[in-house]
Symmetry: C3
């Protein structure tokens, strides 16, 4: 179907808007959480979010292989929400033997070719002072390029500010 | 009357736009500065800003009890500018025995129910790389939630970029 | 002619959009790179960008004296792209015996009075958490003021998000 990109800063209402958009599209809804539960606090947070979404969404926890999941489950859902791209990118960078550029291309290709609508949630991380940390600078570059590629592939792009969605495309 | 939210990054022209909007509304104008003068430099800066605003505005310096001030002075002014929410939130977090969530709710309720127009100035702090500092991350979350709540309560919302106001709502 | 300001976060597609706008204006195109090649990696990066721009643009590398260059070369070009203002400001701050405020005024005056179109590329650096580093805070303030001054002097202002240009003015 088509890609819808929803991006913005931290706590800008991205995820909430993604769920609203997903509910507005008819059909079977899937939620792909890319967060990893490294500790108890994170596990509780993920569980709480799952409850908040309610029974409308089937939740998948997939930190890395989102492209494969989109392909494998394409026939079972009409809408996928992937929350979020920047966390997924960060997981990819720390994973052994994975190439973030190749994987990003695969994810966007799988999303673009899916018979379902794919709503990608992403973070803007490039509007602060240049980070002193070298790895943070590299991540910022990669995340910015991924966001541009995702926006190019998307049929609709929204920028979230203070919980309000501004349509860019 | 109603809440007008004016937000943006550091040095994006938020305060200046807030004063312009306030002057455009007729009546008696109040300016609530939430900054605290911890040192001589800060005292001079606050004094300079007060001079820049001129005699049109009555200035109050109130780092914490903005809700009470809005209620107490409601009958004496037609417009309040609160500059700014993020600084106020930061003061609240460092104050003993205050709950930032409860206080945020009280401030927005007082602003929404005021017979005067209340112009809230706020900072976007969530568009950079995730801070390494734990306290900074918590502050970022709280500020983002407060901004979303304020935008929801507001009749008008502006996003400032390079001194230019973009109307979001 | 006139100033066109194109700003946004890191990797938001600013430079690419500036080249597109420049190519859309007819005439002889100049590109003023303000980056300094301090090491081999940077030299390669600058060289690669120069190749990407192709033979349409004459490239100047000028970390500091952009105002003088704009004046000196005004008769030889129809469009100048200055990439970017924030890097130039940072160079100015580290240069001996230069006053960033005076130089900023000179740059914007030269651009405004030029017979050519001047496209200024700039970074938004003020939408993250307040930096702990004092110098970073000062730079953020100066960059924000420069961006506001540039936007005031500009005939057109664009805000880039995810590679998409939002016209602000």
């Amino acid at each position: 179907m088509s890609i819808i990109l929803i991006g913005g800063g931290s706590r800008s209402g991205k995820s909430s808007h993604a769920l609203t958009v997903a509910r507005g599209l008819s059909g079977r809804l899937a939620f792909i959480a890319t967060a990893q539960a490294h500790d108890e606090e994170m596990r509780e947070r993920i569980g709480r979010h799952r409850q908040d979404r309610g029974s409308e969404f089937i939740t998948f926890e997939e930190p890395l292989d989102v492209a494969a999941l989109l392909l494998r489950e394409a026939a079972n859902f009409d809408v996928f929400v992937v929350d979020c791209l920047t966390l997924w990118l960060s997981n990819m960078l720390f994973a052994e033997g994975r190439d973030a550029g190749v994987e990003s291309h695969a994810l966007l290709t799988a999303a673009a070719q899916s018979s379902a609508s794919v709503i990608l949630v992403t973070n803007e991380v490039g509007c602060g002072i240049v980070p002193e940390n070298e790895l943070a600078r590299q991540f910022r570059d990669l995340a910015g390029h991924l966001n541009q590629d995702a926006a190019r592939a998307a049929a609709e792009v929204y920028w979230m500010v203070f919980g309000i969605a501004l349509k860019l495309k």
